[in-house]
Symmetry: C2
Subunit: 386 residues, 2 copies
């Protein structure tokens, strides 16, 4: 549909809405279409704010760093940007300096702190993270007994055919998101289910269960005991390490037993993987290194362990590469060259090389983004359990 046609329809809809507002029905504002991906992969964004003085579009990853929007006669601000590389992006409107989500778009980035809308620019041929016409797994929100008497929440992907094959058991990938993310982020922003559905349909990944836990035990405890949520600690600080331990305790003592009891898992080391992004990558590496007999597959997305910690806490693992290299089927690390953690990750990989600890790595462009997380997930999902 042509943009001017959309504008005219919007106007008519608004007039109709005003005329019918007396019909014992709450009046609604004009109907806004936003965002709208055009055939050439340009994208139009619209926001209704007749009284605003200035509206901008914020979405640095698709080239809209505070792109100015212009107002039409109805009060709808709009801007068309791109062409945009097909992917999933987050964005906000900045309305007189205030960041808001797009009211016309129900897709959002699940997060404890920031509020952003999500949109997808589909490929000319479908991307690997697109909803395709293939058999689909399901995504299950589960509740389990967690630390300190709280009830934990965890999101679990079961692969296509899980319900139809009651005799079949599956390997399990524990997948942890980053600071301020929630247990929903790898589902809603990371498209974990669609990525697995598509890779499985193409025969590129083994059917597996993916378990996405919440990484912030302290927030959960505070919420359920009526206390204010504590702030996030500084990375690798003593407080951060206490919290890493509490996460590990929950995963090992609560989440894994719950999943093994509730789902038809292959409940042994070689069929158990762990991976995560950012803080979740730190939780991944530590949980795996603290429990070297629990996971055979370890995936760190934009994450590392500091050298001092490797030489201290994990000396027995580092000093015995022959044993370590037999113990784990895969230690995988991915990072982008523009990631603020790139330098630390490079130091980590160089250290592993010197110590002759086997690993696989993937260095991409880009930064600390969910675009890269999806790339790393796509790569590792094809390697696991093979």
């Amino acid at each position: 549909m042509h943009i001017t046609t959309v504008s005219r329809l919007l106007f008519l809809w608004m007039v109709l809405g005003l005329c019918l507002a007396g019909k014992a029905q709450p009046p609604r504002g004009p109907f806004i279409v936003s965002p709208q991906v055009l055939p050439d992969k340009k994208v139009t964004f619209r926001y209704l704010a007749p009284a605003a003085k200035e509206v901008k579009l914020a979405g640095g990853l698709f080239g809209a760093s505070n792109a100015p929007m212009t107002k039409d006669s109805i009060g709808i601000w709009s801007v068309t940007v791109g062409p945009v590389v097909p992917d999933v992006y987050s964005y906000n409107f900045v309305v007189d300096g205030i960041s808001v989500m797009d009211p016309a778009n129900e897709d959002f980035f699940p997060n404890e702190r920031f509020k952003s809308s999500l949109f997808e620019v589909p490929g000319f041929t479908p991307t690997i993270h697109a909803l395709r016409d293939v058999p689909h797994g399901s995504v299950n929100y589960e509740y389990y007994p967690s630390v300190e008497g709280t009830t934990g929440t965890v999101v679990v992907y079961t692969p296509p055919g899980y319900d139809q094959n009651p005799g079949k058991r599956y390997p399990v990938f524990y997948l942890i998101s980053g600071t301020t993310d929630t247990e929903e982020t790898f589902f809603k922003a990371g498209r974990t289910n669609f990525i697995l559905d598509n890779l499985i349909a193409e025969g590129k990944a083994k059917p597996m269960i993916v378990v996405m836990p919440y990484g912030n035990m302290e927030a959960r405890i505070a919420e359920q005991t009526g206390n204010p949520k504590p702030a996030d600690p500084v990375r690798d600080s003593p407080d951060a390490m206490v919290r890493m331990r509490r996460f590990e305790q929950d995963l090992i003592q609560n989440v894994i037993p719950y999943v093994d009891k509730t789902y038809r898992t292959l409940a042994d080391k070689d069929n158990r993987a762990i991976g995560g992004f950012s803080r979740g990558g730190g939780q991944t590496l530590r949980t795996a290194f603290w429990n070297p007999d629990t996971f055979s597959w370890i995936c760190a997305y934009s994450a590392n362990l500091p050298t001092s910690e490797l030489e201290g806490t994990y000396a027995s693992i580092i000093s015995n590469p022959e044993k370590t290299n037999k113990q784990w089927k895969m230690l995988w690390v991915g990072v982008g060259t523009e990631d603020f953690m790139y330098k630390d990750v490079a130091t980590f990989l160089n250290y592993l090389s010197v110590k002759k600890i086997n690993y696989k790595s993937m260095i991409t462009g880009g930064g600390h983004t969910w675009i890269n997380v999806k790339t790393y997930l796509m790569e590792t999902a094809q390697l696991l359990f093979k």
Copy 2:
């Protein structure tokens, strides 16, 4: 924790954040705790906006109709309201006239159009919709082949013990949310899973599967074919009726067969219920009346059928009360006296009375709100399949 203590901690956290901003880690703003429910059920809301001229709290259902907030020296605006009756509420901040969600709160109201945060004031003893320490069911996001070649999304609650009792089959309640809601709204805002968990634990409801479909086929088709979403039609208009038919087609031809294939259902009329709120209530009544042999239990929350439609399309149902009253186990209608649909619902019930069609009704105070929806869900869930 006392409020001034929280303020001091916030300030220290911010200073710490600024000091450490150089440590190759993205700087974060001060850590805001919001909302915070106090022991006396008053609630404090906080929003960081050093440059804003005016910030208000909008939450009419808990008595905050644009309650003014005041700014402290850091730029954190706050207000304490209440005591607030224990329940789940939506709210927004209005920042220099612009409505925004609470950045410090990850809970939100799933909706196509408005963006609101959600918070809960817990009871002194837990409410029936609270997360309690009882056996929990799980909530599953499923994908199924839907109308016009699209892939449908549906959210399915399975009761506690579903996975542990592989020989057991369950009755099914199809539950549809309202205009601009999504398939997530009955889960996230309606607390359907916690309500069922608690009622089942108390022996007040039969264990059942609850299926929560998306009610807007036209938006789904538009999204998946790359077209702009169409506006919502006026209630009971010809366009609305065309859309009701498409919803019914999807539910009868696609959703129910998918659910019966995927879950261990009792797949007969007497073990199948349908219910819904607002537009979902209209979809409920029409789908049930168009398919009188498909559902034995019908629940309309704040919804009705117009007299002209009853006398026209459903003449055979209305004119034969003896047959109709045997055909259905329950026709249940609930509405609040302040609901904008109250008058239409009252007309509907009076008409049913005159025509000697059996029904149960529940008239409450309050309006067209999810507080009332939860009340109606609690009431009907205890009646179904008995």
